[in-house]
Amino acid sequence: MLEIFSSSKAKAYDIGVIVSAVFLTAVGVLMVYSTSSIYSLEMYGNANYFLMRHAIYLAIGLASMIILMRIDYRLLRKFVYPAYLLGLVLLIAVLVPGIGKEVGGARRWIDLGLLTFQPSEFAKYILVLYLAHSLTKKRDKLDNFIVGFASHILIAGVFVILVLLEPDFGTATIMLVTLFFMLFIGEVKMKYLVPVGIVSVIFLCLAVITKGYRMNRVMSFLDPWQDPLGSGYQAIQSFIAFALGGVSGTGLGDSSQKLFFLPQAHTDFIFSIIGEELGFIGIVLVLIGFGVLLVRGLKVSLRAPDLFGCYLVFGCVILIALQAGINMAVAVGLFPTKGLTLPFISYGGTSLIATLSAVGVILNVSRSGLK
């Protein structure tokens, strides 16, 4: 117990992670205001509607971050199974009509009145917590197919399938890829991983083919210019936003694409509006922000005092960086459209709270890490 409070002799919080997280969060506040104010005014008669909500989520996220920074991260291992159960309950609950709020054909949110809550955003991190714990605990039995491999696939698979049922294809993809990466660094035998990677890819392809709209997204990704008003619409609108921005951007608040040409400007396509308003310079800065967070975060992972910390930080960093990378890749047209937010920056309450919480965990481990 003493060791928990003997942290003074350990190193300080990782400055790179702090700076990049603060920078990205600040960009987020600015861009949420810029992209949502006209839409807010139009929908709710109040230009600050989304900004105010964003501020509330931000406050909750910061509080959560500070708590997670200060406790001993090893305590989290005690909550692995309750957390998993809680995640399970929430993921099932959100599928129940009446509890889950249906928006655009998907049930991803639980309406809490003032705020909405998106269980899958936390489920991702719960999965990371579980894997970090389990891979550490079963370290000596990882050679065993059942214990070291099948059990993880099964337990993670339940989450992934529940998320797919919402449906939230983007989050499910992120979870699967993170699972794969964690099993990879967790010394699970490659002879299991490679087939499972192949199976996962087949699984994703099937999910794409069976849903017409996903197929459309893929087709329009392959050539958005073929049908610029149909399935390629979002991609094209995003391209136009980037093109309008040029090198230095049109200036903060001066996007014309956000005026309803580009749907979801304040959530999924906020990166495009950054491109338009802040230009290529803004894009590079944001990329650097995520790059620093990735490199410094992985460094924290490598220097963690124990394997659990290493895996936990790795999972958190990968979740953030992967989601950011995919979101940005979609915006510039490298990936087909997915319903994913840009961590720190997009309006999207639960995502912000979860991301900041994860940053709290990373910072926590960074302070306890090896010199």
Binding site: G230, F242, L322
Partner: protein
């Protein structure tokens, strides 16, 4: 201290077995993704901007024409006959529509349109597309409240005819794009329509104006200009009388169709022009196509005996005969070439005037022979037959008047009493007006004034003399002859108490276009006339096709003429001539005694009711007023005033 530290080292050391290279691989993978994003962004933002711009320009520009306010149509007293109400039309900007499938489902049920076509519009490659024009306001109000992204509303003018079927065929109507397709609406479409404006969608790719209406019209690019107002010569109250009486008369006789036209003989202005059955231009689509015809200008028919009016006028003008010239009517049968001409009633010798009064076909043919075909033809032409009058309404017919070179004996004879020639009601009214007004053929017209959008009068139609047809003396003689038709001839039922009326009846068989010859039981019953004939104010032609109960113009159309003319003259404020009424005129009785009153009433056969005693102070009716039959005059007397 030391061992403890080292033991920790050892324990840490074992755990320090970090998957360093694997983490590096994963990290590098993600860094590569970031770099790829960066490169792609560089391409989009700096290297290849033009491609996206081309699309952007296309999407941010879009326009559509907007209809201007169509000019009004008004009657001579500025009563509105055709006006516009602003009704909302629904359009979409497909770029701003979020869920076309869901939206098309909703819109199609609300607007009663096929879902497929709505979806097609919502997904079309345009930034402006009409969904539905001139929509029921209840529906648009509902839709507006829903604030749907990409759906907008524009006020558009919808043509409304506040008088419903009143002169429907004459005014005509417009289609949904406010283009006149019949009647005055068609004839004056170019002036009524105004100049359309243009709307431009929001902003272009580089002009970054912020507006607070999603994806909708920003401004009305080109101003639209309203159309001209057309003021007709029609008096809608007279029109109303004409239509009501025409309908009544035709229905009484079980007629099929009918028409009436009422002109001011002095000016050629059309005061009323009616076609029965009526058509309500507000819902013209619900009527059969042939209801759209404006009969008085379009419908041609063999006039029959009304033509004798123009024969007689020509003969008098040419001095081929005088009103007292005698003609032998062959006792009802006369052979002309291979044909036998018959009169309804056999007559012996008649004066020229009586030939017209009793409408003898046989003597008409003789008058025609006296006049000669070339002369007769040239007068018919001068009266306007065989040619369009050039009235300013579409669909006018010229009728059929063949060249006299082709007339044999029989043709000359039949054309003399109105067979083998076809005319329009308008031609009859116009020709008759020349007899009524002292000999001038006036150009009939329907438009009195045209007023520009700025309020300036751009056209003011004044009466226009086409030609002088007959002399004043001839017109006076003809008027007298025609008055006798009404007083004691075939047109008695057209007589109006208190007014002098000149007229002529016509009854003609309808040619059978299929079998040749004439239908045995289908007639055109007509009456043409003018009143008051001592100072003509109206020329009126009434034509009824195929009446069943009676067939003669004098029985079918003359009563309609009377009903119309009587009420119209009253409406125009033309009082009856007291000397003609046959009624007695109330003298001024003031100051008379009871004895005087009783003596007067006995002499004149007038009933009186006396109140009081002494001398007369009050009387009803007032001095100079008519005493109608059966009326009781009330007289009040008072003692020594």
């Amino acid at each position: 201290m030391k061992p403890k530290k080292s033991s920790k080292r050892i324990s840490l050391g074992r755990e320090l077995d970090r998957p360093r290279w694997k983490i590096t691989i994963v990290g590098s993978f993600l860094l590569v993704l970031f770099v790829a994003v960066c490169i792609k962004a560089l391409d989009l933002q700096v290297l290849d901007r033009e491609r996206a711009f081309t699309i952007a320009r296309k999407q941010h520009h879009g326009s559509s024409t907007l209809l201007p306010r169509r000019g009004k149509i008004l009657d001579r007293n500025m009563k509105e006959l055709a006006v516009n109400v602003e009704i909302k039309s629904v359009f979409a900007n497909p770029y701003a529509v979020k869920n076309p499938a869901e939206l098309s489902n909703m819109l199609s049920s609300k607007l009663g349109l096929p879902e497929k076509s709505v979806l097609q519009k919502l997904t079309s490659k345009s930034s402006f597309v009409w969904i539905s024009r001139l929509v029921d306001p209840a529906v648009t109000t509902e839709l507006e409240k829903m604030k749907i992204d990409g759906i907008g509303f524009i006020d558009e003018p919808k043509r409304v005819y506040p008088n419903g079927p009143l002169m429907g065929q004459l005014i005509g109507f417009t289609n949904i794009d406010s283009t006149g397709i019949e009647g005055i609406e068609y004839r004056y479409d170019g002036l009524l329509i105004g100049k359309p404006g243009k709307i431009t969608l929001k902003r272009d790719a580089h002009g970054r104006k912020i507006i607070n209406n999603p994806g909708i019209v920003e401004d009305f690019g080109e101003e639209k200009t309203s159309g001209h107002d057309i003021i007709l010569t029609i008096d809608s109250q007279i029109q109303h009388i004409v239509e009501r009486e025409l309908k009544d008369g035709i229905e009484k006789m079980n007629g099929e169709k009918g028409m009436a036209i009422l002109l001011d003989p002095e000016t050629g202005e059309v005061l009323a022009m009616a076609t029965y059955p009526f058509l309500d231009p507000n819902k013209y689509g619900e009527y059969p196509l042939d209801y759209r015809r404006n009969f008085p200008v379009w419908y041609t028919f063999e006039p029959g005996s009304t033509m004798k009016t123009f024969l007689a006028a020509s003969a008098l003008q040419e001095k081929a005969a005088s009103p007292s010239t005698e003609f032998y009517c062959e006792n009802g049968r006369r052979r002309v070439g291979a044909k036998i001409i018959k009169d309804v009633h056999p007559y012996g010798t008649l004066t020229f005037a009586d030939v017209i009064r009793v409408s003898s076909n046989i003597c008409a043919s003789k008058i025609g022979e006296l006049l000669g075909r070339e002369k007769y033809y040239s007068y018919l032409k001068k009266f306007g037959f065989g040619d369009k009058t050039g009235i300013d309404v579409p669909g006018e017919s010229s009728g059929r008047l063949t060249s006299p070179k082709s007339w044999g004996k029989i043709e000359l004879a039949t054309i003399s009493f109105g067979q083998g020639v076809s005319v329009t009601a308008l031609q009859l009214a116009s020709g008759l007006s020349a007899i009524a007004n002292g000999g001038y053929l006036m150009k009939p017209h329907l438009v009195k004034k045209i007023i520009g959008p700025d309020g300036n009068v751009i056209r003011d139609n004044v009466p226009e003399v086409e030609s002088r047809v007959i002399s004043y003396d001839t017109s006076v003689d003809m008027t007298r002859i025609m008055e006798r038709v009404v007083e004691e001839g075939t047109g008695k039922k057209a007589a109006i108490p208190g007014y002098k009326v000149a007229g002529k009846t016509g009854t003609a068989q309808i040619p059978d276009p299929v079998n040749g010859g004439y239908y045995p039981d289908r007639y055109i019953a007509s009456f043409i006339g003018f009143a008051p004939s001592d100072d003509p104010k109206i020329t009126l032609v009434v034509v009824v096709e195929a009446p069943k109960k009676m067939t003669h113009g004098g029985s079918v159309s003359a009563p309609i003429f009377k009903q119309i003319a009587e009420k119209v003259l009253f409406h125009m404020g033309i009082s009856p001539r007291k000397d003609l009424v046959g009624a007695k005129i109330m003298p001024d009785l003031s100051g008379k005694s009871v004895r005087d009153i009783l003596k007067w009433s006995e002499q004149e056969g007038i009933k009186v009711q006396v109140k009081g005693s002494g001398y007369v102070t009050e009387q009803s009716p007032s001095p100079g007023d008519m005493i109608k039959e059966g009326m009781v005059c009330s007289i009040e007397l008072k003692q020594n005033i």
